[in-house]
Structures are given as structure tokens and as C-alpha cells.
Amino acid sequence: MGRQGDAEFTEFVLEATPSLEHTAWLLTGNRDQAADLLQSALLKTYLAWKRVRRDEASAYTRKVMANLAIDTWRKRRDEATGGDFDRPSAEPGPSRVDDHDEVVRLLRALPPQQRTVVVLRYFEDLSEAAVAQELGISVGAVKSAASRGLAALRAASPLAGRGA
């Protein structure tokens, strides 16, 4: 990529990083994993930069991040469990979770696809159709994952007492 493209990409990263960091953090609940996830997604975005419209760059990176997250979890899960992708995460939680970020701990207990759907649906405020498109799954699968994710969160969460 030429100097101009590099400058545009750098400007994009500086501008979009706070929001993307937040998404990466919610998707992983772990600082190191979030950093790896965001770095990988930004690198893929850089390599595709000449095909990515500037006003869609954040959405493109977020989509890469969501799919990378699921791929990573799937790979780890396959290695650890022989491929049961829909089981709750068996990974250790974050070493330190602020009480304020209790919801991050609860998210982390969800199966990967449910977790990603919940983050995209309720943090990024994407429609069910948009989530389906980003993850390459059906709208029905999004509805199902969101419903089951919400149910699990409600059952385990102090949120339940406030909202339910």
C-alpha cells in the first residue's frame, strides 16, 4: 500500500480503536485475547484496505473480529473438547474482573456464538438481519442464539432483578 493509503489507514485506526477495543473486550473478556483479536482484525483490514470503503471500515473490521472470535473459539474448543461448539466456555475467566464489568464475566460464560450474537445485537445495536449477515448465519440462528443467550444471562445475572 502506498503512503497515502497507509496514512488513511492510520487515521482510521486512531479514530476507530476505542470502539473496536470495547467490542473486542466484550467478545473475549480477556485483555490479551482482545488485543490479539483486534490486531488480527486490523491486519486483515489493512490487507484489504484498497477494497474497503472508508465509511465502512469500522463495520468491516468488526465483522472480521466477530468471525475471527468464533473461529478462534471453535478451534480451541475443537482441540479441547473434540468439537462441541455450543457448550459454554471452559476457558478460565479474566484474571481480574471489575464488579462493574460483571456483565463481561457473565458474557464469557456463554457459548461463543451466543456471546457474539449478544454483543453484536445489544452492544453494537445491529438488527437480527445485520447480525446474520455479519456472521454468515441465518436470521433464525441469530434469533435462537440471542434468545438462549438472554435466557442464560437473565438466569445468572443480577440484571434479572432489575430488568425482569
Binding site: A34, K50, V103, L150
Partner: protein, 334 residues
């Protein structure tokens, strides 16, 4: 209740505080450069690694062998090229120094910043005039390897913005009495592989050669207002007409397969003197006219190449390539 829970969940998610992940855009850009560089270097790489000598004695190092090549023969020429964005990395190219023929072998290695040497590829030198491929990026140029006039030549091309476009560079090879014009379509696929390139070269006598052949193209030299041109018919690169400004060494091309869609003429390149255009397969005659012409019809030259008549017209100022069909109608670039 579900709606209330969803609203509360949204509020809670937004209230979370994400730690700083220490993302440095320059790190990503540098990693991106290295990735692209590596992809380019590896593009088209074969399974073997290194090398060859002129005269037919071939020494090969297999790809799994990480030992740097150490050509014993003085017939080797070794060039270390820096790799932009990767400190201490270089690409070592080893080529025959004397006359090479199609079928002789060449090779190169890549050394990263840790000093680890990797044999990247080797291959057989192609027939005359064919470009091996882009084999080593430099700071502001990419390098191609070709056999021209019976010798291995390295041709350096400026490395500019990516994206589909036609570019060309002119390289003088005085030892060979040649001016080489390397043109290429810079269009990268999703893996950043360069898709195509081509090579033409012009002898001091003004004879034009094109990809893949030592034989001159069917052509005719013309002089228009004291400016020497060569007009050639060339179907070997899916082009219909080549026009070369001999004095400037600038190649005026008749388009390429990537643009060869539909009727009409499509401007593909502008030089200080020439606008290039695609010529349909049905072209009967060619006129070279200035876009801002003060008047048509000056300095005409009739050219017949392989039974096809062309009319070359040159006026001062910017030139334009027009196609005149068999009914005499003039077509301008759209």
C-alpha cells in the same frame, strides 16, 4: 419484561470499561507491509530453491535446506536487495553472469531480520522476452527478471499505489543496444498477487519485439513531423496495435485483455505526448491525433501491416488515438 431486560443489558454493556489494548497503527502497517512483501515474493514460487549456472551445470538446493546458497562458480552474480519495512532483511538473488538461455536455472533466498535464511524459489529462465515475475520488492521499486537479447536482465519498476491500472517503465540496456519497455497491469487479487505484466523492447534500429518472442513484430517505422514512431501489429498479447515513440521510448499500447470488452476506445494511459487507447479487433485503420488539435490532417503517414492499413497522424500537442472503421467512420475514445 424481555424488552426491559434487553434495555438493561444494553445499558450495562455500554457501561463496561474496556482496557486499553495498546494498538499501534504503525505496528499494523509494518506487519501489513511485511505480509504483502512476503506474498509478493512467494507469488508463483515453486517448490525448489536455488540455483544455477550458465553453461548448464545446475546445483539445486531443496526448499527444506535452510543453508544459504554458496555458489562456487564465478559465473554467479549475487545481489542482496533490502526489503522495505523489515530491518536487516534482504533478498539474495543469484543469477548467471554470462549469457543465459531459456531453460537455465535461477534462484533466490529471503533472509528475515533474525537472520534466518529461507530458500524461496528457483525456476527455469523463460524464453526470450518473457518476464519471470516480480521477485523482489525494493524501497520504491519492484524488480522483474527477464531474458532479453540472450542475457538475464533485471528491470526495476516504480512501486506506486495499487489498484488496477496500466503502467510502464523504460529501461535502457546500452550493452545490448536495446530500450526495454516493461508495461504491466497492476491488479492485485485478494491475496495481493500481481496478475499480469508484459514486456516489449526496442532495438537501436527501431525494431520492436514483444512478449515471448525474439522475432520482431510485424511493423513499420514512420516519421511524423520529425518524430520517429514504430507502429506494429501484435496479437501475441491480445493487443491489436502497438505504437512506439522511438525518441522517448514510450510505448503506446493498443489495450489489453482486461479492457478488451465491448466496442469503442478506452483511454488507458496518458504520457506528456500520447493518450493511449484500446483498439477493437475490428479496427481497420488507426489515426494518431492530438486531443487539442488545431487542425486535423497534418503529418500523415500511411502504414500497412499484415494487410491492414493504418493512417498515423501527428500534430503538436497532446495526441489521441482514433479508430476509423471500414466505412470510414471515426470513433473517439468514450
Amino acid at each position: 419484561m424481555t424488552r426491559e431486560f434487553e434495555d438493561e443489558l444494553r445499558r450495562q454493556l455500554r457501561a463496561t470499561s474496556a482496557p486499553s489494548l495498546g494498538v499501534d497503527p504503525m505496528d499494523i502497517v509494518e506487519t501489513g507491509h511485511r505480509t504483502i512483501t512476503r506474498r509478493r515474493i512467494l507469488a508463483g514460487a515453486g517448490g525448489l530453491a536455488l540455483a544455477a549456472t550458465a553453461g548448464g551445470a545446475v546445483a539445486l538446493t531443496r526448499q527444506k535446506d535452510r543453508t544459504p546458497a554458496d555458489p562456487a562458480s564465478s559465473a554467479w552474480k549475487t545481489i542482496d536487495l533490502p526489503v522495505p519495512g523489515v530491518d536487516a532483511a534482504f533478498v539474495r538473488v543469484q543469477l548467471p553472469t554470462t549469457k543465459a538461455r531459456a531453460g537455465d536455472r535461477y534462484g533466490y533466498q529471503f533472509s528475515d531480520e533474525s537472520g534466518k535464511v529461507e530458500n524461496l524459489m528457483d525456476g527455469e529462465l523463460p524464453g526470450a522476452g518473457q518476464i519471470v515475475h516480480q521477485w523482489a520488492p525494493m524501497a520504491d521499486a519492484s524488480t522483474f527478471l527477464a531474458v532479453i537479447g540472450g542475457q538475464v536482465q533485471t528491470l526495476f519498476l516504480p512501486d506506486e499505489e495499487h489498484g488496477m491500472q496500466v503502467r510502464q517503465t523504460v529501461t535502457a540496456l546500452p550493452d545490448l543496444g536495446l530500450t526495454c519497455v516493461v508495461g504491466w497491469v497492476e491488479d492485485y487479487n485478494s491475496d495481493s498477487d500481481l496478475l499480469s505484466h508484459e514486456l516489449h523492447w526496442l532495438t537501436t534500429e527501431g525494431v520492436l519485439h514483444s512478449n515471448g518472442s525474439d522475432s520482431p513484430l510485424p511493423q513499420q517505422a514512420v516519421e511524423l513531423e520529425g518524430e520517429p514512431f514504430v507502429i506494429a501489429a501484435d496479437d501475441t498479447t491480445q493487443e491489436r496495435v502497438l505504437v512506439v515513440d522511438r525518441r522517448a521510448g514510450v510505448l503506446v499500447r493498443g489495450g489489453s485483455h482486461l479492457w478488451n470488452k465491448g466496442e469503442g476506445l478506452v483511454p488507458v494511459r496518458t504520457s506528456p505526448r500520447v493518450v493511449l487507447a484500446m483498439v477493437p479487433k475490428t479496427a481497420q485503420r488507426i489515426e494518431v491525433l492530438p486531443a487539442s488539435s488545431a487542425g486535423a490532417g497534418q503529418a500523415r503517414a500511411q502504414v500497412t501491416i499484415e494487410g491492414v492499413d493504418y493512417t498515423a497522424v501527428l500534430l503538436k500537442g497532446k495526441l489521441e488515438l482514433l479508430w476509423i472503421d471500414d466505412r470510414g467512420r471515426t470513433h473517439r475514445p468514450r
